[in-house]
Amino acid sequence: MFGYPLVNVLGACLIITSMLVVLARTGRAAAWLYSLQSLVLVAVLASLGAVTGSTELFTWSATAFATKVVLVPAILLFTLKKIGDEARTDLPPKLNPMKSVALVAVEVFVCFVAVSGIDLPTAAEVRPTLAVSLAHFFIGLTCIVIQRSIFKQIFGYCLMENGSHVTLALLAPQAPELVEIGVATDAIFAVIILAVLVWRMARYARTLDADDLCELKG
């Protein structure tokens, strides 16, 4: 149950949790679910570290815990509070849950097929997880594409971020910490900036509906 199989199982958990984030009805629930999702991510990183014996990955998991499990959800919840009644955050997505799940399933499948074509010694053992991480990224994209509430689209970005984070860990476990720090800081800053933008949008434009943001066109 330890070693790579564990990593792969945790990978499967990643997919499920991320789907939950996509499907969450309210922003608040999504934030909590995202926190849970990030916890799974930390577990993935830690187990990977245990498997590969890479000390860097442990530090990564530590920073990931600090930023993703704690900081990001906190920021998002804070934003939600700040927005308050300025605008509706809980707009329903464009796609109903059934279709969203189907779409996610298709993405996961396609990613598995795509990854099976990749021939990398580093990734040989963790190929399922690699596919999961890629799929994770696309689930994030899907989240952005199908959500009407731009607040929930932030979660889309976060999921993409998590996906690429896992990929980074899988493909570049030996990369210098500074790289990881750079990526993580970028992510944090991105979330902060997105949150601020959402808040301003609510404040100055009184809407968080992506369908209202179609005034600039070709």
Partner: protein, 695 residues
């Protein structure tokens, strides 16, 4: 001689810059620009004329662009062009001394600056012997002249300028491709390398055809002529003279340079000559036909430039044909005809534009319909214009006749040696040239007669006064040039002949014997000088006889025109539209070409917009019905107005297609950023699929 031209270029730049600086006081600015320009033109003229016979001068600097050395070449052909353009420039500046008084409000400094630069860049185009620098100066020439075209900033001039710049640029791009095709085959941007490398026939043909159409767009040949009648009239008249007389000749120069010089080591193809002749014939006929339909004196002249470019192309085409078919006499006579007509056209077209400018200056209108009777009020202008009209109509013994005579000899001579196909081609060319000649006579009867003869048809025309001395002087100078190039043909022909021979690198063919011009292969001679003397004698004799009879029998004036017993009024006079309508009766199909093309263009544009699903709602029909006016009345009240209900011009249709396409593309950007992300994913999938395809 090159040094003198440098001096001229320097003078141009200095005069231009000073004139720009002095822009706040227009009078000073004008004087600086004109005097500096005249000095510069004089230097360049001497420099160019000095190079006519002399050996080619070559100069090269590795300067400012690291990848293209700045190479200049002053050979006899370049000398000829520089001399012609400088002569015109000199006259244009002289004319400007008074003419530019009207432009004080419109930025005299800008005019002085850009006109000087325009002339300098023309000279540099002619001199440049490196593909890159040639292109630079060619484009600069278009740009500087564009500024002069739009200087009025009226809607009409802006539209004309727009069309001009775009056409010039399209031509420029074709030239660029042509040059770079040669450059990539020769491995260098230097013309010297082009000259010495033998290109594969395919490469040479691509290069020639592109260069021909590219330079042809600048020269204003059909089908790239549409800019010319819009742009040239919009510029100040002396600039029109410079553009129509000088700049479009650069197109001809380019064609000759590419064909005989750059592709000289490769050798030509007979097909090139055929192409040039066909385009030349079509240009000449259509040019004059469209000119007949014009009311605007300057537009009419501009269309005549299309016609004359066609005639020059007939000559040059014959030259190319002869050169490719290894018929040295034909090559030489064709080129001789083309170059001679080039010089001639510069002179008489310059003269006519200046004359039109004088009319404009004196009356404030270019619309012939409301002019009339100016011959009495502006005798010098009228006389000069008449000489110009006779010359452009190729009436012997003036200069136009000489070059057209050579053109005919070349065409007929070519037919004598040619096979079946060539005989039909040259018969077609000869007929085209003959129709052109006859129509040109008609057109200049209209231009001169309607503008200068009969009685004034408007107050403006009645109030016209003769123009100031500098303008008169400029016109007289060109008139003298026209007469000299005609009567002194025996002196001029050997020079042009030697230039043609130098281009072909063969010994010159004998084209002059004493005072007569000789066409060897067609065994014919003509002597403009002797002809002039004989004509003068005979006509003078007739006149003397008649006048003595008048003296014996007496003369009196009847102020009233006899109008078949009706009360004569101004509407009974012949108008431009009278002539136009009569010509249209018989030449309908030729006018219909334009109409059909325009309509087809509009139809395609409409179809296009329908296909893209952009059908515009029909314009509301609530427009008040315009009062029905006769064309004469409309001209008198509205000015030169396009006839209503005409199909939009082809350029308009093209623009509409472009804008429809843009609108259609715009639909892609719906404003919803979520679809944008889908595009990115789509692109990714596409390229990943491409990998599978490639591997």
């Amino acid at each position: 001689m090159l040094e003198l031209i440098f001096v001229s270029l320097g003078l141009s730049c200095v005069a231009g810059a000073l004139s720009l600086v002095a822009g706040k006081t227009p009078a000073a600015s004008k004087t600086i620009a004109c005097v500096g320009g005249m000095a510069s033109a004089a230097c360049a003229f001497i420099g160019g004329a000095g190079a006519l016979l002399g050996p080619a001068v070559h100069a090269s600097w590795s300067g400012p662009m690291a990848f293209a050395s700045f190479t200049l070449l002053l050979n006899p052909l370049a000398g000829l062009l520089i001399a012609v353009i400088s002569a015109l420039a000199f006259v244009a500046w002289l004319y400007g001394l008074s003419y530019f008084d009207e432009y004080y409000e419109k930025g005299m400094g800008v005019i002085g600056f850009f006109m000087n630069l325009f002339i300098a860049s023309m000279n540099l185009v002619i001199l440049a012997d490196n593909a890159f620098w040639f292109l630079v100066f060619f484009e600069l020439m278009s740009l500087t002249s564009y500024v002069l075209v739009v200087i009025d900033q009226t809607e009409k001039s802006l539209r004309g300028g727009f069309l001009y710049l775009i056409m010039a640029h399209i031509g420029f791009l074709m030239i660029a491709i042509s040059f770079f095709v040669m450059a990539s085959a020769a491995g260098s941007l230097e013309f010297e390398a082009f000259r010495t490398s033998a290109f594969a026939p395919g490469v040479a043909t691509v290069a020639f055809v592109l260069a021909f159409f590219g330079f042809g767009a600048k020269a204003g040949m059909v089908p790239f002529h549409s800019w010319l009648p819009q742009a040239h009239p919009a510029a100040p008249s002396n600039v029109s003279a410079l553009m129509s007389g000088g700049m479009i000749k650069i197109g001809i120069f380019g064609i000759c340079k590419v064909c005989f010089d750059l592709l000289g080591a490769t050798g030509g193809e007979i097909g090139w000559g055929v192409l040039v002749i066909i385009i030349g014939a079509v240009s000449s006929v259509l040019g004059v036909v469209y000119a007949l339909g014009e009311h605007d004196l300057k537009s009419l002249l501009a269309y005549h430039s299309v016609e004359n470019i066609g005639i020059i192309l007939l000559g040059v085409g014959t030259g190319i044909y002869g050169w490719a078919a290894h018929l040295p006499w034909l090559a030489a006579i064709g080129l001789l005809a083309g170059l001679y007509h080039l010089v001639n056209h510069a002179m008489f077209k310059g003269l006519l534009f200046l004359g039109a400018g004088s009319v404009l200056h004196a009356t404030g209108t270019r619309n012939m319909e409301v002019l009339g009777g100016l011959a009495r009020l502006m005798p010098v202008t009228a006389l000069c214009f008449l000489v110009g009209s006779l010359a452009i109509s190729a009436i012997p013994p003036l200069n136009g006749f000489v070059s057209e005579w050579f053109t005919y000899q070349g065409l007929i001579g070519a037919a004598m040696d040619g096979d079946i196909f060539m005989r039909i081609l040259f018969a077609f060319a000869v007929v085209a040239l003959a129709i052109t000649g006859a129509l040109a006579v008609t057109c200049f009867v209209k231009a001169f007669g309607v503008t200068f003869l009969a009685r004034p048809r408007s107050e403006a025309a009645e109030a016209a006064r003769e123009v100031p001395a500098p303008m008169k002087g400029a016109m007289v100078l060109l008139t003298v040039a026209c007469v000299f190039l005609g009567l002194g043909a025996a002196l001029v022909t050997p020079v042009v002949d030697s230039i043609a021979a130098a281009m072909l690198s063969v010994p010159p063919v004998p084209a002059v014997e004493g005072a007569t011009l000789v066409s060897l292969d067609t065994a014919s001679v003509v002597s403009p000088l002797a002809l002039a003397v004989l004509m003068a004698l005979v006509i003078a004799a007739c006149a003397l006889v008649r006048n003595s009879a008048n003296r014996a029998a007496g003369m009196k004036d009847d102020p009233q025109t006899w109008a078949c017993g009706y009360q004569a009024d101004l509407t009974m006079e012949t108008l431009a539209s009278t002539v136009g309508a009569n010509v249209k009766n018989f030449m309908g199909p030729l006018f219909a070409i334009r109409f059909t093309v325009n309509r087809a263009g509009a139809a395609v544009a409409r179809l296009f917009s329908r296909a893209l699903g952009l059908e515009k709602t029909a314009p509301s029909a609530s427009k008040a019905p315009e009062p029905v006016l006769s064309r004469f009345d409309r001209d008198r009240t509205v000015g030169i107005a396009a006839a209503p209900h005409r199909a939009p011009a082809l350029s308009h249709s093209v623009l509409s297609i472009v804008s429809d396409l843009g609108a259609w593309f715009s639909r892609m950007e719906s404003g919803d950023f979520r679809t944008y992300i889908v595009y990115i994913v789509g692109a990714l999938v596409f390229f990943l699929a491409l990998i599978i395809l490639v591997r």
